[in-house]
Symmetry: none
Subunit: 244 residues, 2 copies
């Protein structure tokens, strides 16, 4: 005797399984239609399973996924309730520039504008919590999409933390990708803002001085050791989009 009883042969169609997706949608519908209000306790898994004619595990998965995106809140013994404050966090994907450009169907190219090894300037030491003499690699790159300037990247790399990068010439691989592949990090800080283009920045990006630029800064650490700080400037028509 097998564990699962043979499913009753459905009259027609390939199957009449109750998908956890169906349940998710139905629950969302009930929320939308105010059948279940925010804060309200909804029936238990067992009861819902009976109602939907499926196994409890299936209801469980539906509810678990709804809890994951903050629609409902669950507690053992206490049951499941519609979230009162669906306070949610947006997940912002941080793509590799090349991938981002290629995803648009454009051709990607980058150029290293300058490269120098030097002692960390005071501002960078402060930003990265570095003290004493620290050698850093300073890179300035321009990224193109179909030969149109796409992003200007100003990057500082802590050579003590990433020594392998010093001999790299970046002829085939960009610093961005080199680091993604070779320098895992455990912590990251990002800052988003807007600024006005300086004369130099405007020239590089092919826009006018004073035009608004979208600024994306990122600093990464491995444990407590700072790895790199990068400031990326985008043309005013750039939009960073994320949907979920």
């Amino acid at each position: 005797m097998t564990a699962t009883a043979p499913r009753p042969p459905e009259a027609s169609g390939p199957r009449a399984q109750t998908s956890f997706r169906t349940i998710k949608t139905e629950i969302l519908r009930r929320i939308r239609d105010r059948i279940w209000q925010p804060g309200e306790l909804i029936p238990g898994e067992e009861e819902l399973a009976r109602e939907f004619g499926c196994a409890r595990v299936t209801v469980n998965r539906a509810l678990r996924e709804l809890a994951q995106i903050g629609i409902v809140e669950r507690k053992r013994r206490a049951g499941t309730r519609i979230a009162e404050h669906p306070l949610r966090e947006a997940r912002l994907e941080i793509p590799v520039v090349r991938v981002e450009v290629e995803a648009l169907g454009a051709q990607y190219r980058f150029a290293v504008l300058s490269r120098e090894t030097l002692a960390a300037p005071e501002a960078m030491r402060a930003r990265l919590d570095l003290s004493g003499d620290v050698r850093m690699l300073h890179l300035r790159c321009l990224h193109f999409a179909d030969n149109r300037p796409w992003q200007f990247e100003d990057r500082w790399i802590n050579l003590a933390a990433v020594p392998d990068i010093e001999p790299e010439t970046f002829e085939t691989i960009s610093p961005n990708e080199w680091l993604v592949k070779n320098a895992p990090f455990s912590e990251m800080e990002i800052a988003l803002s807007a600024t006005a283009a300086t004369t130099e920045e405007a020239e590089l990006l092919g826009i006018a001085k004073g035009d608004p630029l979208f600024v994306f800064e990122r600093t990464t650490w491995l444990l407590d050791q700072p790895l790199t700080h990068v400031r990326m400037l985008h043309r005013p028509d750039y939009r960073m989009v994320s949907r979920f």
Copy 2:
């Protein structure tokens, strides 16, 4: 005979179940330690289940959740591989303006600049995938931190989806907070960009025309029904920061 064979009595401890969490952690460890490189195909669920001494479903759950956060990529028949570009994702908390301002120790205040109910203009219909006659509530608000303009909010609300908001006067609660409390959503799209202040925007925010503005747009849906679209403009000195 029951479906599940009695578990072999573990020598000690409460249980030696193979948790999907254990598997997730172990897989992450193997990625971190470069045992499995980005792009690499990892063993199938069956084999991993054998290795970890657990059911395939358990491995499935671990891998499914890792796929959800972008660590691995899965395709039927093709197997599971480590994501090539571990797109680290930044988690941006969706702040309620008031909370954001108060977190800085500043006093929060807001003003509704205008409020009108009207048929959705073409641009908004297009953006929200709405068709036909749709009544919308259009609100323009200014948020202050210590009486200094902090954010200009331009919001469109789909009244068909959120009818309860129509009588609300927003004298004590901002549209932002009202919606957070009363209108759960299941999908969201956010877009970040930079733009130049128009004359009116500059005046409202107390800056000069053409100054760069940080733009945060958000659209939310419940199921397929659009709820609201909001465009938030910030002064050039604003920085949206997230660390993790």
